[in-house]
Amino acid sequence: MTNNATSTRETMGSMTSRLSMPYTLTAGKAMGTFLAELGAQRIIGSRCAACATVRVPAQDFCGDCGAETGELVAVPSTGELTGWTVTERGILAFVLLDGTDVPLLHRIVDTDVSSLVLGARVSARWAAEPAGNVMDITGFAIDAESTVGALAPTNELLAPIEQLAYRMELTYEHSYGHFYGSLFDSVKNDRRIRGIRCPSCRNVLLPPRGFCDVCFVPTKDWIDIPDTGTVQACSVVHIEFVGQRMTPPYVYAEIVLDGTATRLIHSVGGLSAEEARSGIVKPGSRVKAVWSDRATGSLADIEYFQVIDGSA
């Protein structure tokens, strides 16, 4: 990359980000029934009439031939071990339950690894308190004495579990890279905003980046940007929401900092509720950054922008 920022202290390397996403999963008829029946210590499979196979967990459609699998069957909780792997999260195994054609994927519990052999007889271990999910079977254990069970018709089935709460938690360490790192570093240490110029369109870009998005040529010269600018568009925020930093009403604005060709999304503050509503901030308003006491190395180190004289 061509740039002249070699003198910059790059202490800002990365930021941690955590995503926590709640879901309500819909199990459907066959899977919902399978999960519900586990609570009664019964295992429910489905029979595909078209290809004459029984698979567990029960499925609404056959995974092999795609046919609708109408008939649910009660499957014994005994079977044989047809595969396993030892991981740091425990032993996972394929268990071919008696009378079925497709193994169930589950865990091996209460069993010494050295006693695992292909073809070993196993039986299910049940949770003391059913929770309405697949872990109502805690796993399968070697059970040499278990007799070979048989499929049975299902009589009165429990109502399917319709929905399951689920949350996905993901953690990231996002690299700033040279361009954001240089910007945030100078914001943090020197209260200095730095952009970069595209040698083709001559536009100054904030945040700085390695390539001009429009021209697709490498950017070149770092440019110091004043903390004053002009509002291009704005909106008065009246509602409250999670993560909000300012108390409504306040003004959210697209600000073109002097000399730049990009728009910075930030807020205009220092206004009374009355002033925020009054339309004092409008396209063309001149604004200047009010820096906070925080030095976190992000554009949130600017508390807000305030209106200054000289509006267009």
């Binding site: 899977m31 595969g83 690299s175 390695g210 390539f211």
Partner: protein, 377 residues
């Protein structure tokens, strides 16, 4: 149908960043723009000549939703037709080649990237699993690889120790590939011995790395204008297996076989032996053997013979995906490799190679497969 694409689309340029465990000083956009800018070099094409961009990446790995929207500038996609494929970049190439073959565009840019170092890639793999019965029991990519490896080794009577030859060969090739930050010295004792998912050890698993790759596809007319020796797309195929891993065979990859068979039919090829270079992507050593057998390079259970000293010089000259797996991009790296090797742009091409095959796998436990065949005049 076959003639419509055969030799109507060519790879006219391609490039990748170096692949390494963590590009911690660069953003996704930095990696993407480097690959794209370098793919254009030497083609005489400028970004303005590109009609469309198709890109592969994962919102889960990127940690943001519809992440391609933030990366458009780096991909050179400003005010262009752009679409995202949430699968390995080789599928993006398949769509791009189809689009050009249809006559609706002349030049397409295919991009794939990931920075799995920014999160735990196992969280990504687990997110692919069915959430009611597969995710809660602790299923992840390693566990599936272990379960299937046990099936494979047991069914064909291959000892787990034989897999060392697969690792060694892959890493030795990567050691000679300047675009992969992997050396034989990195294979320390712990790498060979650490149990990950029995019977597989750390050395058997594909090593996740960061990187980006870009491939420039062009119509026959444009390829001829560029001159040189175009690398033609001759065949393409893809196929997917069922999701429930216990319902898959595990010791063979019928979807990979179906994808290869479709590509061979289109290319008029009799089989894998028609290809001088075969670049495949696999999640584990045992998985790589299964891929080679599905492609028809060896009888079931016999692919290990391809790893004898001096055998199969055209097999993964780059090292393949085991030493450097860019999730969502390893297959497109394979296409770039085959094109560069056939086009005289690579320092690790086998002598006199004219035809090559690139393979990608995707999904949990290599559920999905794509094959593209290439040929130079």
């Amino acid at each position: 149908m076959v003639a419509a694409t055969s030799r109507n689309v060519a790879v006219v340029g391609s490039a990748q960043t170096q692949l390494k465990a963590a590009w911690s000083d660069r953003q996704h956009v930095d990696l993407i723009s480097e690959a794209v800018a370098r793919a254009l070099l030497g083609t005489g094409l400028r970004i303005e000549d590109v009609d469309f961009v198709i890109d592969s990446g994962s919102d889960f790995l990127d940690g943001r939703s519809i992440s391609n929207c933030g990366f458009l500038g780096a991909m050179g996609a400003h005010h262009k037709e752009e679409s995202r494929v949430e699968e390995d970049g080789l599928w993006s190439a398949l769509y791009g080649a189809t689009k050009i073959a249809s006559g609706s565009a002349s030049v397409g840019l295919i991009v794939a990237y990931s920075k799995s170092s920014e999160s735990d890639p196992n969280d990504y793999w687990t997110s692919l699993a069915e959430p009611f019965t597969q995710r809660p029991v602790g299923l992840d990519q390693n566990a599936v690889a272990g379960l299937f490896a046990q099936r494979y080794l047991t069914r064909f009577g291959v000892p787990a120790s034989a897999l060392r030859a697969v690792t060694h060969r892959a890493w030795a090739a990567a050691d000679g590939n300047t675009f992969v930050d992997a050396t034989l010295e990195m294979l320390q004792d712990e790498y060979w011995s650490q149990e990950i998912a029995s019977p597989l050890r750390r050395s058997d698993m594909a090593r996740p790395v960061d990187g980006a790759v870009a491939v420039l596809l062009a119509s026959k007319d444009v390829a001829r204008q560029i001159g040189g020796s175009p690398v033609w797309v001759t065949g393409m195929g893809s196929a997917i297996d069922q999701h429930f891993i216990a319902a898959r065979d595990g010791a063979t990859l019928p979807a990979a076989a179906a994808a290869a068979s479709a590509a061979y039919r289109m290319a008029g090829a009799s089989g894998a032996s028609d290809f001088d270079i075969v670049e495949v992507s696999a999640g584990s050593t045992a998985g790589e053997l299964m891929v080679l057998e599905a492609l028809g390079m060896a009888e079931p259970g016999k692919a290990i013979d391809l790893y004898a000293d001096g055998a199969s010089p055209g097999l993964n000259p780059s090292g393949g995906a085991l030493p450097a797996d860019v999730v969502m991009a390893s297959g497109l790296v394979r296409l770039h490799e085959v094109a560069a090797q056939l086009g005289g742009r690579s320092d690790h091409a086998p002598q006199g190679a004219r035809r090559g095959l690139a393979h990608a796998s995707g999904g949990l436990g290599m559920q999905n497969h794509c094959v593209i065949t290439l040929e130079t005049s």
